[in-house]
Symmetry: C2
Subunit: 455 residues, 2 copies
């Protein structure tokens, strides 16, 4: 079977894009969701052109072989994990930035472009591509589109989906579909663009994207507020939004996270806070708005609130926030939840997570895109202790149950992958699942595109 | 047949929601696209609840009767026009605003809520629902969602699609689907919400929507710039955007439009301008930015540029712009095009439309959401003169051809309806049409939902 497959791929692919060595191919088996199952790929294709992707899909359709599209494999839900006998279709070599236009404020890129490289290329035009997932220095735009990635800026600037104007997509049978537009507006036909964003490669393979850009904002200034309990911090977040402010970032770190970041990088973060809020404003004159925000924090119970001296000082605090995930991961084996709740329920979510940690005798560090109501409770455990593993799994699930009960979603920005597939049905309900499966079948009747992911 | 249909509807609907009188029913036959064909409805249902909508769809499925969903019928593409023997399903009575939440910055509404009524309800919270189509005082949110409506604010605030977070939709067979979310972020499963926005009721009937709100911006201040030719005005638009400004509105009126507005309302607009640009900024301190914009306009060739004295003065100019369409419609019978091109091609679009007007000896007035590259060339003709009607039709089509050749779309914000259905295939290409039909079939296998619209 594998021999036939590789022979068929070779018909129209140059040798240097094929990885047939089993050990090397196996190194492409998974993304960064350590605990998700992954199979062994039959072959890896490092595609360089849309035509090569089309050939892969035609062969896959002919031979009924599953195809797992991959970017930089920085995903956190197993969405890029191989299944046994599949073709791993890596897009990382399709990494050209084809156009940056300052009048139309768009970039046209291939999927393998690294998020940070796009930012560098647009900076000279005074433009920025806002979505900035934690992995922005290594993750690819194609992966961002596949997972519907978020980041730190979303409270003001929104998520990946809001920046994808149009796509070139290779369909399951090798046809090429162009969706969306190069224009600021457009309502010609169904909006298929958004269907592919967050679809984890289960509906088609994105080979080109037209992205919206924004003028680069001034450097942000950050207010830091410390709270003796997370409920007060959540109250501050709600009051800031209700007062009509639009911070460019509003992040929360709990004590476990603060300690972990200090342990990793000696940042000198205040560990006597139960919760630290970072609130950035990136308008030309942020001082007055930050003073108002400081006052709101104090009114909500902050025992200390101050504004950083300058943009450099502010950037240091944001860097500390960016270290939260790697810092927590050093404490043990970890499972990262990604529950988003309505902003008004953030306090209930944080209290609930603390109760779950206590009930299941498990360490859970929380950092959160507080302005989005998007929490990342990180369940930490000793993988060599079966009882701890068991408790961690129960806690992980309890967090998602809590999120749904609070009117939230099981995934704000990391995607479903294999990690949360059973929970997706819970969130969508039976009609939702039926309809989503109908959409999947319309695009991929043979079920060869990234099987086992999403629905 | 009609007797069976009405009997079946009566099984579960109160008498007062049914309009069976043929003359009254006929008054629901069409939206504001005067020249699009419309059939005679068999019956009109003025639904008051989701359950009633479900009953209508179940009956329609059982009896294979087409259903045409309607809002306020202010659409401009025939998307709400009846087909012979259909059930017109009007949602205007489902007009409750169920929730406005200033912390989550969302509103939950029924589809019959009038756009302006939502703005009034959110104002007391210091919030605004930005999309503001010209018909905002009468059009409904459901209609806005169905058509993917735009408006004057889109250059800064975007279109309807960007404000729809989640939907309750009654499917063709009467099942209820919940899409999207109540949260700021969410990537659980395929993004079906956006599929329904702009679908003109061909995939399902929207019965509830969760909408994003924004803090009400300060009143805008407007700069007015006059140009001796439209190409210079387009150059100014490009230069303003390339310089990194973010106007809250950037509108263009050509001389035909200026004259028509003056004739309607004696606004005293300068008719010696070939093109007038209105550029608004709604930041707290707009003076410096508007001064820079004035200078850019002068540099691009404006023979006069000035900034309005205050917000009231500014509002007068915006009111003049809002009169453009009714003013042009008084000049004769009209067909409104809605071509959006990349902003950088606006000058080519305007020059091309002028050439088309001359070539086909037809009056075409142009107003444009210039900042979006979204032009509304309005073809005006004498409907009693067959030769003029013929020339107008040719000109109308030539404008869409030009838009596509410039990398644009046949509809920026009005929708496809019946008016542009043939042109849609031209824009989407054969694969696009196949895929869109596949999506339609997945949602509406019997083809009973608003047949003949979109694909």
């Amino acid at each position: 079977m594998t021999t036939d497959l590789i022979a068929a791929l070779r018909e129209d692919l140059p040798a240097h894009v094929l990885v047939t060595d089993a050990d090397i191919a196996a190194s492409y088996a998974r993304d960064m969701a350590g605990l998700c199952a992954a199979g062994n790929p039959a072959v890896v294709v490092l595609a360089e052109t849309t035509e090569q992707v089309r050939h892969v899909m035609r062969v896959a359709t002919r031979l009924r072989v599953p195809v797992v599209p991959q970017g930089a494999r920085t995903g956190l839900s197993g969405g890029a994990n191989a299944v046994d006998g599949c073709i791993v279709l890596s897009l990382v070599r399709m990494n050209r930035i084809l156009r940056v236009d300052p009048v139309d404020r768009v970039a046209v890129v291939e999927p393998g472009v690294v998020n940070a490289d796009l930012s560098k290329a647009t900076a000279e035009f005074g433009l920025v591509y806002p979505p900035d997932p934690s992995s922005w220095e290594t993750c690819t735009i194609g992966g961002n589109i596949g997972t519907g990635a978020g980041g730190l800026c979303c409270v003001k600037y929104g998520v990946t989906a809001e920046y994808v104007l149009g796509l070139e997509v290779v369909l399951a049978d090798g046809r090429v579909l162009h969706t969306g537009r190069q224009t600021a507006k457009g309502v010609a036909g169904y909006d298929l663009t958004r269907l592919f964003v967050g679809a984890e490669g289960t509906l088609g393979v994105v080979t080109r994207a037209t992205l919206a850009l924004r003028p680069t904002p001034p450097p942000a200034l950050v207010t830091v507020a410390q709270f003796a309990d997370t409920a007060s911090a959540a109250r501050a977040v709600a009051a800031i939004m209700a007062a009509g402010h639009t911070p460019s970032l509003m992040e929360l770190m709990d004590r476990t996270t603060l300690r972990a970041v200090n342990a990793l990088a000696a940042m000198g973060l205040p560990e006597h806070s139960a919760a630290l809020l970072l609130i950035a404003v990136d308008t030309p004159e942020p001082a007055a708005e930050l003073a108002a925000i400081e006052a709101i924090c104090t009114g909500a119970g902050a025992f200390e609130a101050f504004t950083a001296e300058d943009a450099e000082d502010s950037a240091m605090f944001m860097q500390a926030r960016r270290l939260a995930l790697p810092a927590l991961e050093r404490l043990g084996t970890s499972m990262i939840d990604d529950v988003a709740v309505p902003r008004s329920r953030l306090g209930d979510m944080l209290d609930g997570v603390a109760a779950i940690a206590e009930r299941h005798d498990t360490v859970i560090g929380v950092c959160a895109h507080a302005g989005d109501g998007n929490t990342h409770p990180i369940v930490i455990f000793d993988a060599t202790d079966p009882a701890a593993v068991e408790r961690a799994g129960v806690a992980f699930d309890a967090i998602m149950r809590l999120g749904l009960d609070l009117g939230g979603t099981i995934t704000g920005e990391h995607g479903v992958g294999t990690l949360k597939r059973e929970w997706l049905a819970e969130e969508l309900g039976p009609v939702g699942v039926e309809v989503q499966r109908g959409v999947k079948a319309a695009f991929d009747p043979l079920g060869i595109l990234n099987p086992g992911k999403v629905v």
